[in-house]
């Protein structure tokens, strides 16, 4: 989640801090800078992938540093901050909104850090649907308390998400970045936020073609971490020396890690691993490559629920292929059990009849007439189209249409050329008669599930029989 640091650069920030315990003379601005320096240091050490931007505001606002991972640039801009006139939060927030949307689009939640003390911040939170937090300094304003305060805030806002990725007995300690946010389902029935488990268990594997670009709530890098490394290096004070760290990293690079194996095989095979994130909550692991041929293990979170993707069905009903009597992928991988077909076809897949526009009705009638002129060759299509029209007319209570089409067929019968096959006349008058009977609504002839069948004719005997 990108961070926007909104720094008050108005004159009010140059007020001196009342000095009782502190020896130096400090402005509020100096304290804010000190706090932010800590923040940037922490990010540089622990949240290297986080994007942060710096916006300064007074009555106007200015984007000092666009979203970046370069914390030196941020620090530099912070150090060179100038003083301006008065505080005007509203315009600043407009500015932030612009900056965020241009860069990330709407779907991206953003951390907003503000450095100032203000009483109307609480109202602001309410406007944001209560989504947010206000940290206020406690006690005396001085360098020490600013450091303590920043420390507390960092722990709260930028916690790690250490987890274990498991595939049976194979496992790896991982860092999930960015930290997955809790999710609310139906607030009425299920008002509790859902958090993903720190034990991420693989259920099985699916081909990329079968999972088929599924919708996801969020994406996260899954970075393997060395187990023996100290976990609680939250503050900048506890971070290791850079040199030591690199040597430790080099060491860790040489120890086989399950994530690397999994990533390699997922990439080669073009598959994803289905992973359980919680009760009735799943996600997928896959190899994500960027344009520079670098690739990494990525985890996408599906929407919580027993059936996140209709084409996979219920995830709890996905079992090992060894349970199936016959390999559903075929011996040569030529088949797939996916996607699942819905029980009822959608309207666009089942040749429905809609006559809302006159053209729909005309097309259907013309189709029947076109086939009528090609009898007996087109007998099957003729009756298929006739029955489709008959069913719709009966359902819509459109008996007038049945009578009309019957008359059209009778007319076609009289227009048959001498060369026409004798069967054509029989079929036309038979169809016309059946339609007329149906148009009376007589249950014997107007049953919806009944069809008009072609008349059986016997020309060898010279006559027609039913």
């Amino acid at each position: 989640m990108p961070t926007v640091v909104l720094m008050d650069a108005s004159l009010s920030m140059t007020r001196p801090v009342s000095l009782e315990q502190c020896s130096e003379e400090l402005q509020r601005k100096n304290l804010a800078v000190a706090g932010l320096t800590m923040l940037f240091e922490h990010m540089a050490n622990n949240y290297r992938l986080e994007f942060t931007s710096l916006v300064a505001f007074s009555s106007l606002w200015e984007l000092l540093v666009p979203f970046t991972r370069d914390y030196n640039t941020l620090q530099e801009a912070l150090n060179n901050l100038e003083d301006y006139d008065k505080t005007c939060l509203e315009s600043a927030l407009h500015g932030v909104s612009n900056v965020v949307q241009q860069e990330w689009g709407h779907a991206c939640p953003t951390q907003l850090q503000m450095t100032d003390t203000m009483h109307n911040l609480e109202q602001l939170l309410q406007l944001n649907g209560g989504d947010g937090q206000i940290f206020t300094m406690e006690g005396q304003l001085c360098l020490k308390s600013v450091q303590m305060f920043t420390q507390i805030m960092l722990i709260d806002l930028y916690p790690d998400f250490p987890a274990v990725l498991r595939c049976g007995n194979l496992a790896s300690d991982v860092q999930v970045f960015p930290r997955p946010e809790p999710v609310f389902l139906d607030e009425e029935i299920d008002p509790m936020p859902r958090h993903i488990l720190t034990d991420l268990e693989i259920v099985g594997f699916i081909e990329i073609g079968d999972i088929s670009s599924p919708p996801v709530m969020s994406r996260h890098l899954v970075l393997p971490i060395a187990v023996n490394k100290e976990v609680d290096d939250v503050g900048p004070g506890t971070t290791e020396e850079p040199e030591e760290e690199t040597s430790a990293n080099q060491q860790a690079g040489k120890v086989p890690n399950f994530c690397v194996l999994l990533h390699g095989s997922l990439k080669v095979e073009g598959m994803v691993a289905l992973v359980q994130l919680g009760p009735e909550w799943y996600g997928m692991l896959y190899s994500q490559a960027d344009s520079k041929k670098k690739s990494n293990l990525m985890m996408s979170l599906f929407e919580p629920g027993p059936e996140p993707l209709p084409w996979l069905g219920k995830v709890s009903q996905l079992g090992p292929i060894s349970d199936a009597a016959e390999n559903p992928y075929g011996e040569d991988d030529s088949k797939s059990p996916f996607p699942l077909q819905p029980k009822i076809k959608r309207s666009y897949a089942q040749n429905v009849t809609v006559w809302i526009k006159a053209s729909g009705l005309q097309t259907d009638v013309q189709k029947i007439l076109r086939n009528a002129r090609k009898l007996p060759e087109k007998t099957q299509t003729f009756y298929k189209e006739l029955n489709r029209l008959r069913k719709a007319a009966l359902a819509f209570g459109f008996w007038e249409l049945l009578k009309g089409v019957a008359e059209l067929l009778e007319r076609e019968c009289t227009l048959l050329p001498d060369t026409a096959h004798p069967d054509a006349a029989f079929q036309l008058s038979h169809a016309a008669k059946q339609l007329k009977l149906a148009s009376t609504g007589d249950s014997q002839y107007a049953a919806f599930d009944q069809n008009i069948n072609p008349m059986h004719t016997d020309f060898s005997g010279g006559g027609a029989g039913m």
Binding site: G168, D186, V203, Y348, V354, A358, G360, F398
Partner: protein
Amino acid sequence: MKMFSVSHKTAFVVDHCPYMAESCRQQVECDVLTKSRGQGMIPLAPVSKSLWTCAVECSMEYCRILYDVYPLKKLINYIVSDSEFHILNSWRQEDQSTHELMSALAAVGPPNPQEDPECCSVLHGLVAAVESLCKITEYQHEARTTLMDTADRVANRGRIICLTNAKSDTHVRMLEDCVQETILEQNKMAAGSDRLMPIQQCELVLVHIFPQGEDTLVSDRPKKEVSSLLTSEVHSVRAGRHLATKLNILVQQHFDLASTTITNIPMKEEQHANTSANYDVELLHHRDAHLEFFKSGDLHMAGSTSRDSGLKETVTLKWCTPRTNSVELHYCTGAYRISPTDVNSRPSSCLTNFLLNGRSVLLEQPRKSGSKVISHMLSSHGGEIFLHVLNSTRSTLEDPPSISEGCGGRVTDYRITDFGEFMRENRLTPVPESPDTEASGKPPAERAKAQLERYTRYWPMIISQTTIFNMQAVVPLANLIVKESLSEEDLLTCQKTVYNLVDMERKNDPLPISTVGSRGKGPKRDEQYRIMWNELETLVKTHVAGSERHQRVLDCIIACRSKPPEEEERKKRGRKREDKEDKAEKSINKDSEDKSWQESERLKGVVERVKEEQGESEVIKDSPDSPEPLNKKPRLEEIQLPEKAKGPVSLLTMWTNRITVANSRKHQEFAGRISSVNNKAELYQHLKDENGMDLHENGKATR
């Protein structure tokens, strides 16, 4: 997001009174005469739909769109009202289809104009609709059962859409009052019942339909609150296409739908097959597919146009002709089912058929700046078409570190291919829900996890950590031992694998022991076998708790690896020579392994010549009784092996072997020599076969 919002239950009440049989006075010319045929013919009089037909077909269109976009959990109860009410279906999911409804409607038929209008009223239907809304749906029931003590969180709301021909505004008010009273009455009854729920919120949507050319007697009225339980709105609409438009707008409002028009679809002309024109197709879907546009305020920039009554808006997206059919995993933030507005028009059906045949289409959002942004994708999954929303903004995960930079990133000999094979074996498949599977305990996904657990009890991640998984000879056992249960046949295969390994050891075949990290020659041959047997034991031991047959595989290994005396003796003699042979053989072995072993540069020439003749047969060996692998050259091997067992393979020996092999191809080998072990052929061996395999004797398998 509320599961049981007003749109969970929709009751349609359609007036079936005699006045609905009146014509809508919009004529349809269905006899389109062509010029050549039309001469002298009197065309058929145009047909005209009744108010009833208009109401039914428009309500069916509402249902069609609803079922396309929400095949589940949005339920319709269809009620027809004349002198009494007729309920055409129930809330049950299996009753929810247009086919079911059409069938029931056909049974009802059009209104009977001869019926006494005094007895007929839409009120019967409205009362039935309220009663019906009190009835619990299977989803409400399920939610209440699972929530138990917090069952009161399950809400009961609903909507009544009434299609009627009202007489006046007063008549409308009377209908509203009646619904309000019925709700109060029914709620009292529902309070004391298990299968009924009181209505917490009801939306009444009255649609007054009147014929073309008439003035309406009822005025439009926006939604107003009748009581805390009931809201009501009135739409006064002309029958025919106005009604269709109105219900199309209503279904969008009621179910949070939005419209997208796909533009620039290239399509072959029906008449002129070699020309192609561009068409537009309008689709309806959940409005969240446009969320990005709404939030960014880009809606108008995205090409939205107002149409018809000005209420309907559509976002235009441009078709991008798909180039490849490659399988790609797009970053997709949402997927929404679609329904074409004009389902059986030719452009619509061309588009939907194209998608149903498995092609995907990327859609481009036109921007004023002229830049191209692919924002959506149309794709079908199992006969259902979805509009996928693709992420088109900057990702916060851009430029991540490569996995090779992190933990384990420097290791180069991961068993990538083997793990790929493992993944294929652990692919998932849908298991039909049946009482049987429930009875057997574990749900399929748990069984899948249990299988992963079994398959990974012993799974070294890198090539240099394992010997047995680099040996083709171990494959049959390794594949079987992870199974939940072994058949008698499986057990036999495992035992044969073990005997084969014994045979290899007796013949002193080289093993693909890793020399990575160790300088010099690596372990001695007998040490290599000890490592191999230990590893095999480790693998099998993790599975002995599985079944008695798993235990028997382990028993077999333990019994077999105790060295037969003959071999012990041979080893003592052979030890001195082994040192010399080691270097040469190791490289042969490496090469034959078909793994990414580094070839020893110095011996490369020798190796390549030898590989041709004996390479493949070195490691892949089955027990004598198992069928021959396809690529095996049995005669070749049988002749070589006695030679090899004797000791070091010098260049001369290899050359001699080569000549011998070449010569042996020219004549039929003596049967006794083929089946000989150490150049000794056993006589009367068929007697042994009949007594079952006597396998432990001398550690030899007999043929």
